[in-house]
Subunit: 251 residues, 2 copies
């Protein structure tokens, strides 16, 4: 009797192992985030990194999502799970600071009724002020960013908001005044972290992603000017964004 | 002795099963095509579908690969395997026919010394001639396309050439004269198939991909005008392109 008792249990263990290996494939490669429910509207808000020179012209164009992480995420889940009827929207605008987002928040975010709202903003608050030798008003930035989140939640209480940390690496834009860049971007990252804690929102930690990446190959292969990602950098952003969203809303 | 003889063999079988499941993940999701060797130069040639409104401006920009399947392929393998130092190039030009590729073949293909060369051309040979009520000169198209391949192989005998079949679905552009479109595109597809056979080259069969896709969700969600892919369509192209390249050069 012993063998016949032990065979099935061994088979079960092996099958579980095989299934686990199989499901880990599905998890990481193919299953959409649970937040991407049937018909979910996924809106990417931000600056040039999100904008990606997206076409503003028309409906049904293939260039509406820009050349960047929103395109990678939309292509993957839109292409592989068409029956979900996911709607991907990009309203990133090149050059935007937090105050610019605030100025167009009503029509470009609230009116679009997103189910998932991704916000990546802040690097131009550093860039424009450093370039103009102006003081960076962190308290104002934090208050304005806070209001963006509050307004979005008031308008749509169930919206799932993903905060994205701004990031830099040494590059042509950032190297000449690297210490100032680094200190200022860190302060914006801290603002994003505080707002995440305050509003119970997940934060995509892109800085660590790029810090790790530049240990593998040179910084300019990820962020060609120290600020803007190359295609390889956009892939890392897409990966981290999806990981963050899956972790925040597992079901 | 029987149980102890049989246990190890059962364990081996189960482990093989588990490893197979594991390696199928790596194969499909992560391993680059073997053709993407260290430092490989991968060039995408074609028309607007390849062009994707790519930026012509400069080096190290994030928009050089356009919004399309080349960007998806480059982001995936460039982002996940940076140590391979893969070089992705896009020289698709919107509106191009086979004769336009021929006119710029020397500088835009030969001079770039690709290790992997992808060609997607032909739909404008149909479109422009139908629109102008002109005869489509298939024999000339085939001869010109044949010369593109021959010239590329003469210049670089080890180049791995991937032929991509042009494709359409019913949409705003194609519906009004669908029968003519379908018949003409089919003839170009047959040309591509013949050239594939003649030169022993793999063909990415995009038409079947989109025929299958429109069984899942409406045609315009894949090719918004019947000719150009949306982001979801570009993902299917990227998948099929990679599958074709892996199958053609498994080692």
């Amino acid at each position: 009797m012993v063998p016949s008792m032990r065979f099935p249990s061994l088979i079960s263990v092996c099958l579980l192992f095989a299934l686990a290996a199989k499901s880990s494939f599905a998890e990481t490669a193919d299953t959409p985030p649970a937040a991407f429910r049937q018909g979910a509207r996924v809106l990417f808000q931000g600056d040039s990194i999100t904008d990606g020179a997206r076409d503003r012209a028309g409906k049904y164009q293939d260039h509406l999502l820009g050349h960047g992480y929103p395109f990678l995420i939309a292509a993957n889940y839109g292409g592989h799970f068409p029956e979900r009827k996911l709607v991907f929207l990009n309203r990133g605008v090149s050059g935007n600071k937090v105050s610019d987002l605030a100025a167009r928040w009503k029509q470009d975010t609230i009116a679009l009724k997103p189910d998932v709202l991704s916000i990546l903003i802040g690097v131009n608050d550093v860039w424009h002020n450093l370039a103009g030798n102006k003081e960076i008003k962190y308290a104002e930035i934090e208050a304005a960013y806070d209001k963006l989140i509050t307004d979005a939640k008031v308008a749509q209480p169930n919206v799932k908001i993903v905060l994205c940390e701004p990031f830099i690496l040494p590059g042509p834009v950032t190297k000449p005044r690297w210490k100032e860049w680094e200190a200022a971007v860190k302060k914006i990252q801290q603002i994003v972290a505080r707002l995440g804690t305050k509003h119970h929102l997940p934060v995509a930690h892109f800085q660590k992603v790029f810090d790790d990446a530049q240990q593998r190959t040179p910084a300019e292969e990820w962020l060609f000017d120290g600020v803007h990602p190359c295609y390889a950098g956009h892939q890392l952003m897409a990966d981290e964004w999806v990981r963050t969203v899956k972790e925040a809303w597992p079901n």
